[in-house]
């Protein structure tokens, strides 16, 4: 029997193989981590004068007055957070509904294939095109809708008039469309990977289709749906071009979603070209805040994700 020797030979091969790949993996990971560290270091470094001068006031102050060298980003933080949440509020129900229709067999397979393709194509459209489309198509529509809302619900502060075309509301509509593919694709994926045994269990107990979907399939897919929503939120917060073209870039705080507003990303895009000295430092400070917010959102997301995964562990 010559098997033992040849076996130990091939084992030796296996051993030397991974060493090379392991090195490669280490190298790749190190490059990634170092790049991230370097970016953050550079941002902090160039933001430093502003951090030193304004400290925490930068976060709470509403004055963005380059001529008087006074800078505060509170309205932009609010704008970033609120526009993204409003976008999620609009995109989540729609995205989840589409995901359900795509993962269950309500529609014939070819139709589902087409819808899926179309939704995924939304992700391929460049941001600036969304911005242009927003200006020419969404603004007129959202403006007339907003006017109607103001005339009916104007007494409620968040729907107060006058309604503007370039507004937080308009930006959120376009943002919602932009993040729809993220929500749909990931939710659909986790819905269709709910174990067949769970579906069958629900049907065998006499569930109607909707009872099975709402009572068993959706809860089982919850971790993936949460992940989808958080990734979408992250994407919405960082989105720059389309928002900068639509939101109005105002540093004035307003309760109404129909008023112009500003986001951190939009602020950076708009002002970086002509900024000098302290303004550059302040913009870098704003960039740092944007990074921290998105990191924070992702961390909360991870925590929720882990919690729900822990709850459903063992059924897959």
């Amino acid at each position: 029997m010559s098997a033992p020797t040849s076996q130990s030979n091939s084992l030796a091969h296996y051993k030397s193989g991974p060493d090379f790949f392991r090195l490669l993996c280490w190298l790749a990971s190190a490059v990634t981590v170092l790049t991230l560290g370097w970016i953050i270091f550079k941002i902090v470094e160039s933001a430093w004068p502003a951090i030193h001068k304004f400290g925490w006031d930068f976060l709470t102050s509403s004055a963005w007055l380059p001529n008087r060298e006074r800078f505060g980003v509170f309205p932009f933080i609010v704008g970033t957070v609120v526009s993204s949440f409003v976008a999620i509020l609009m995109a989540f129900p729609l995205g989840l509904a589409i995901a359900i229709f795509l993962s269950e067999n309500f529609l014939p397979a070819p139709v589902r294939q087409v819808i899926r393709f179309v939704v995924e194509m939304l992700a391929a459209i460049p941001s600036v095109v969304y911005g242009l489309w927003g200006i020419f198509v969404v603004i007129p529509l959202s403006k007339s809708f907003a006017d109607w809302m103001v005339s009916v619900f104007g007494g409620v502060p968040i729907f107060a008039g006058p309604a503007y075309g370039n507004s937080l509301f308009t930006a959120s509509i376009v943002l919602a469309i932009m993040i729809l593919p993220t929500i749909t694709a990931i939710s659909r994926n986790s819905l269709s990977s709910v174990p067949k045994t769970l579906r069958e269990g629900a049907y065998a107990l006499g569930s109607t289709r909707w009872e099975a979907i709402l009572g068993v399939i959706l809860p089982s897919a919850a971790p993936g749906i949460v992940a989808a929503t958080i990734l979408a939120l992250g994407r919405a917060m960082g989105e720059t071009m389309a928002v900068a073209m639509l939101i109005g870039n105002s540093s004035r705080l307003s309760w109404s979603i129909f008023s112009p507003a500003g986001t951190l990303a939009g602020l950076l895009a708009n002002q970086f070209g002509e900024a000098q000295e302290l303004q550059v430092n302040s913009l870098m400070y704003a960039a740092l805040i944007l990074i921290i917010i998105t990191l924070f959102v992702n961390m909360i997301g991870e925590a929720v994700l882990r919690y729900t995964q822990h709850q459903t562990a063992g059924i897959r």
Binding site: T197, Y203, G206, P219, Q311, G314, I315
Partner: protein, 271 residues
């Protein structure tokens, strides 16, 4: 006539005081197709009330397919077709007046792989009651205790009813699935290899449970384990290549089968 004889003896047997119905669940000239592929051929079988009927046979012979036709679960698969009839208490389950939802409520099913929902133990048990509109707490509480006792799980979980069902052991999960199925108070309990993923101790528990449950339910169990069939079934049906080869008292099948194919299978010569 032997059929009448059998019915008479069963009526007087100690386990089944009320009269048992010989054709509680029955298939008549039943053919079944997955697309073009025929999986069942001319099945005629009468499953007696409050007895355990075991389905045995080599892999792919159609045991699960027939079982899943009893509660019309196979209709969830696209492109399937059947011929012939299946009757529960003499009434066709394909009758227009029969709603598949209520049919499935009256025929419980336990699967090979336990499939508790990602909910608490309590919510798993009452799932069937909730979807049939029952929400009175006292009724649900009562059903939980009755079903968990019925599934011999009550003592083990009574202090953690509101914890996730996914924290249970494999054997406990399977008994929870049995509790969930009997909470609906079904007429029939279908079990497709309910012990194949369990260790020997958990298997013994489930087998004891099956013998206990037959006082109340008509049970059909698919098994690959010959000892299990002899231990807990009264009747045994042997299937081969989509056909019902032999159906008789379990004792008879395992001691003196009429068909050569049955004998070859139970003595391990093929399958």
């Amino acid at each position: 006539m032997p059929i009448v004889d059998q019915q008479m003896t069963k009526q007087t047997s100690p386990n089944s005081n009320p009269p048992v119905r010989k054709d509680f669940l029955a298939a008549k000239d039943f053919n079944f197709f997955y697309g073009k592929k025929q999986a069942l051929y001319d099945i005629n079988i009468e499953i007696p009330e409050r007895q355990v009927t075991a389905f045995i046979g080599p892999s792919g012979c159609g045991k699960s397919t027939l079982l899943r036709n009893f509660n019309r679960m196979n209709e969830l698969i696209e492109g399937v077709r059947h011929e012939g009839d299946i009757r529960l208490l003499g009434k066709s389950i394909y009758d227009k007046s029969v709603e598949v939802i209520s049919l499935r409520r009256s025929i419980g099913m336990v699967f090979q792989k336990s499939n508790p929902f990602p909910k608490s133990i309590y919510e798993n048990v009452v799932y069937g009651l909730r979807i049939s509109g029952q929400s009175k707490k006292s009724t649900l509480d009562e059903a939980v205790e009755r079903s968990l006792r019925g599934a011999a799980l009550w003592e083990e979980v009574k202090d953690r009813l509101h914890e996730s069902a996914l924290g249970l052991s494999g054997g406990q999960m399977q008994r929870l699935c049995i509790a969930r199925a009997i909470a609906n108070r079904p007429k029939v309990l279908l079990m497709d290899e309910p012990c194949s993923a369990l260790d020997p101790i958990a298997t013994v528990k489930v087998e004891e449970l099956i013998r206990e449950l037959k006082k109340e339910f008509t049970i059909v169990i698919v098994t690959h384990n010959m000892q299990q069939a002899t231990r807990c079934s009264d009747e045994t049906a042997f299937f081969y290549l989509g056909k019902l080869i032999e159906f008789d008292r379990t004792q008879k099948i395992f001691s003196n089968p009429s068909e050569k194919q049955t004998e070859d299978y139970i003595t391990g010569r093929f399958g």
